[in-house]
Structure formats: structure tokens, C-alpha cells
Amino acid sequence: MISIVNAYIGRVYKEFRDEILVLPSKTIVLLFCLILFLIPLMTSELYILRILILASIFAIFAASWDLLSGFTGQMNFGHALFFGVAGYTSALLNLYVGLPPWLTIPIGAVAAVLAGLVVGVPCLRLRGPYLALATLAFPLILTGIIYIFPDITGGELGVSGIDPLSGSRLIDYYIAISLMIGLGFIMWKITGSKTGIIFHAIREDEVAVRASGINTTKYKLLAFCLSGLFAGIAGGLYVHFMRIAGPTSTLALMVSFQAIIWAIFGGIATIYGPIAGVFILVPVTELLRVMPEIRMLLFAVIVLLVLLFMPEGITTWVRDKIEKECPRCKVRNIATRKICRICSADLD
């Protein structure tokens, strides 16, 4: 009996060693997750937890942008629409119907999926910059609608007095980081699946994908809906954490651009890139609060300089430094290896 358990543990350990420890990037991700789970043991500072909760929520949001725009190449400039639709749906359901957060957040996410369909269907005919600029219009139009019904939506001030996520900051923290890690992992798995490969192919050459007998319309809509789903969860979490849903915090132009900045800063078409981008830039933005006058200026300068020297984003740049791809079998190897770990081809 014990030997079976031992053998099983051995196999799990071997799997773990061969799949995760062998690549520095995966080891870094594992360490990052462990540290996130252990942080409350080291500090009980509510302010730090608050920043990390917000970073987790925004990480889901930025990664969902990457799923649609980075992988499928459907440039979305109005990603705040999903965030805002889900946020307002959750907030209004909670306030007027009295549903608890664990119900309103999924319903909000479903609303964001529907928003994804609404945006996706007309945008299927558009491509490139036209698509980008058409999607930009949706959240701004919704903002206008919110302003004309101030009785229900609170107008400019937004909806306040929403139930908190849970009673305590610590539980909020674990909810946020588990969801971030879980959803990030799901998105990463989606991009590696057959569907993800089709998404990728659509970005590279849509005509060729269609010529291969794949219904690209269906897959593009799917990308809009999936992205809407994840962004919607982030939106619902955000309003329940902040306890307010306002047009400037959920629908403004800056919210959409913020997602794009995080994602491109971290490195697009990776999923972990946008997450890293958020976890670097959100604390940096907070640190810059000590100099309120030049905070935005420094933020913009940092983003600009990093992108000038690493135009593909920070994670892609780091990954290419610490790992190299086998020229024969395209498996990634640690940069110190001379021959590929799978096919033993020369790496240099």
C-alpha cells in the first residue's frame, strides 16, 4: 500500500520536475503564485492587500483583452464595455433585487457575454483599424445612455451602496487571487487548445483559415464571448470590491486603454504577459502616489521607455533571455542548455 502511494508521489514529483522546474519561466510563475498565497502571512497591512486585490482583478481584465486582441487579432479598443456592462449589471441586481455577490457576478459575466455578441456580430464585417475604432464607440455610447437615466444608474456619480465581496479583506484577497490564478490558467489552457490554435491562425491569416474549411465567423464570435466572460467576471468583482459602479471607473476611454497598456507592456499573445504587466504597473502606479503632480507623467515615461527597448513587452523580452526555442522541434529550453531536452538537436 505504502509503496503504491510512494510510487504515485514519485510520479507526480517526476512530472512536476520534468514539466515545470525544467523551464525557468514556469518556475517563476509557480513561485509567483506561491508568494501571492503566502503574502498575508508576512503582512496584514490592509493597504497592500487592497492593491494586490485590485491588481488581481485588473489582471483578469487585461488577460481577457489579450485572449481577444492578442491571440485572435481582433483589436478591441472598447474593452471597458465588458467591464462596465458586467459591473453595472451586478451593481443594479444587487441593489434593486438584493441578490448576493456570488450570484450577481456570474449574471454580470453572462451579461458581458451578451455584450460580446452584440459587439461581435456587427464587428465581424470590419477588420484592422476599422474594427478597433468601431469597438471604441460602444462603451462611450453606453456612457451616454447611463447619463440620460440618472434615476436608475446614478448618472455621473454611479451606483453606490453595493454589498461587499465578503466581510473581510483577507477573504476578499483569497477570492481575488484564486480567481485570478484559476481564470488565468483556464485562459492559458484555452490558448493552447485546438480552439486557441484556430484563434492564433485567424490573427495570422484569416483567408487561409477560411480556406481550410474553418468557420472563422463562429470562432471570432466565440473569442468575443469568451473575452467578454472573463472581463465580465473582473467587472463584477471590481464593483463588489469597490462597492461603487461609476461611468468613469468602469466605462471611460482610459479603462479600455489601461487594459491595452498593461497587456502590451507585459507582452501580448501570452496571457501571462498581461498578468505580469498588471502586477508590475499597478504597484508602480501606487508607489508614484508619493509624487502626485508628476505621477501620470512618470507612468507614461516608464511605459514609453520600456516599450522602446522591449517593443514586444517585458515578459517576451525576459523569456527570450532565459530560454531558447529548439530550432528543430520548437520546444522551449533553458538558455544554458547546449542541446534540446526533447530531440537533442543543437540549440545554437
Binding site: 464607440a137 507623467l297 514609453l304 516599450l307
Partner: protein, 289 residues
């Protein structure tokens, strides 16, 4: 009421047309979506304010100096920053956005967030068909038409214009025909920024200046350009008139119009590009893969 709508609508359309044509030119010649474009417009207006109020320079001289200064800044930004990341389409977006924020913050640091105003170049008014129109408005209309006509003539009648249009149509073939594509990109950037600066100079006496005055025009310019068709000068002009008047009509006729002006204009843009995905006068990019 009607005369106010016509005058305000014409001013809005003229400004959007100047901005949109520059935006469209640089997209055509270099395939860059330049989100800094309207920040240059804001910067020009503020420079004119500095030169006239702080240095006490002659207004016309300060306008010329500001336009030249902003154009030089634009070309420097293009050479030092945008050119380097041009190959990565998405990175260009964020880099130009960051540049716009940098310009906004620098202006905010230098001038504070207060509303500023520049005095009119000329005072007095003319009476046309029984309507009082200030000379400043007439001057603005005149300038918009002269500049638009000049740009059209430059693009259609000169060798440089042919080179710009050839680069916009097909970079590789233009390159093969002996056109220096990189230099055309830079010249186009200079023209585009100069147009934005001129638009800024024209509105400086009419609008109040704030460091955030670039955001709304940016959204509108994007809408105008998409509506008219990217890379089409005629399209930008027609699009600017449609959206400029839509915005004005909403502000004047709908009770809470100021909140809704952007929404209605954007909704019209959406409807039009859903019917014609390449915009009113745009060329289809089907062959670009």
C-alpha cells in the same frame, strides 16, 4: 437658433476636418494610428497662449512660431520614438498614447488645470443675411477653406503629393519606383502635425483651453476618419461635416445634449460603417493580409 447651429457646426466640422485629414494622411503613408495627433493640437493652442500672454508677442507672429515649434516637436517624436517601434502595430498605439499623456501632463505642470483663454485676433462683426457673425469666426472659416484647399492641391497637383499617395497605396511598389518611403513618412508626419497645430491655432481664441481638450477631439477624429474611410481626404472632409453638425444639433436640440453629443455621433458612425465596412470613401483593404 438656426444661425448659431450653422456657425457652431461649421466651426466644429472645420476643426475636425483639419485634424482628421492629418490623421488620415499619416495612417495612409506610414500605417501608423497616431493617438498623439490631437495632443499636438492642444499643445499648439497652449504655446500660442504662452507667447501672447506671457511673452507679449504679436499674435500673428506667435501663431506662426507655435505652428513651427509644434511641427518640429512632432517630427522629432516621429524620428526618435515612433519610427523605432513602427514594426509592432500594437506597440505604436501604446507609445503614441503614452506620448499624448506626457504632453498633457507637461502642459498640466506648466499651466495648471485652470481654464485659459486666448484673445481674438480681430474684433468686431459683420452682418450677413441679417445674422451677426464675428470677424474671428469668418477668419476661421476662411483659414479652414484655404488650408483644406492647399492640402488638396499639395496632394493632387505636386510631385510630393503623388509620392505621398503612392506610398499610401503600396509601400513596397512605391519603394521600388525610387520613392524614399522613410522620408515620405517623415514629411507626411510634418504635414499632419502642422495641420493639427493650425487647427489648434484656429480654435485657441474660440474655445477654452484645458490640458484635457485633446481627448474629445481624438475620439471624434477617430470616428470621422473611420466614417469617411481611412486614407481618404474627401472622406475625412465629408465625415467631419456629418459628425460636426450631428454633434452641434444634439447639443442645441436635446435637453441633456452635452452628455450625449459623443454618443449620438459615434452611433451614426457605427451605423454607417456597418452598412459600408470600409467607410464612405475608403478603399477596401481586402488584399492586405
Amino acid at each position: 437658433m438656426i444661425e448659431m447651429i450653422i456657425i457652431t457646426g461649421l466651426i466644429a466640422s472645420g476643426v475636425y476636418a483639419l485634424l482628421a485629414i492629418g490623421f488620415s494622411l499619416i495612417f495612409g503613408a506610414a500605417r501608423i494610428i497616431n493617438l498623439t495627433h490631437t495632443a499636438f493640437y492642444m499643445l499648439a493652442a497652449y504655446l500660442i497662449y504662452t507667447f501672447t500672454s506671457s511673452f507679449g508677442l504679436n499674435p500673428i507672429l506667435s501663431i506662426i512660431v507655435s505652428i513651427i515649434a509644434v511641427t518640429i516637436i512632432g517630427v522629432l517624436v516621429y524620428m526618435l520614438v515612433i519610427e523605432r517601434v513602427r514594426a509592432h502595430e500594437t506597440t505604436v498605439l501604446i507609445v503614441t498614447m503614452a506620448l499624448a499623456i506626457i504632453i498633457q501632463e507637461v502642459v498640466l505642470l506648466a499651466f495648471g488645470g485652470h481654464f485659459r483663454g486666448v484673445s481674438s485676433l480681430i474684433s468686431g462683426y459683420a452682418t450677413i443675411l441679417g445674422i451677426k457673425v464675428t470677424y474671428q469666426y469668418l477668419l476661421t472659416f476662411g483659414m479652414v477653406f484655404i488650408i483644406l484647399f492647399g492640402t488638396w492641391a499639395l496632394l493632387m497637383k505636386t510631385k510630393l503629393g503623388i509620392a505621398i499617395r503612392a506610398t499610401a497605396q503600396d509601400r513596397e511598389v512605391a519603394n521600388l519606383m525610387g520613392i524614399n518611403v522613410a522620408r515620405i513618412g517623415m514629411i507626411t508626419m510634418a504635414i499632419a502635425v502642422a495641420l493639427a497645430a493650425i487647427a489648434g491655432a484656429l480654435v485657441a481664441p474660440l474655445f477654452t483651453l484645458t490640458p484635457y481638450m485633446w481627448m474629445h477631439p481624438l475620439v471624434m477624429v477617430l470616428a470621422v476618419v473611420v466614417l469617411g474611410g481611412l486614407g481618404s481626404i474627401k472622406g475625412s472632409f465629408v465625415g467631419a461635416i456629418i459628425l460636426g453638425f450631428t454633434e452641434t444639433l444634439v447639443v442645441f436640440l436635446v435637453p441633456t445634449g452635452a452628455f450625449l453629443k459623443g454618443s449620438v455621433a459615434l452611433a451614426i458612425m457605427l451605423v454607417i460603417i456597418l452598412i459600408r465596412p470600409e467607410g464612405l470613401f475608403g478603399v477596401s483593404f481586402e488584399e492586405e493580409r
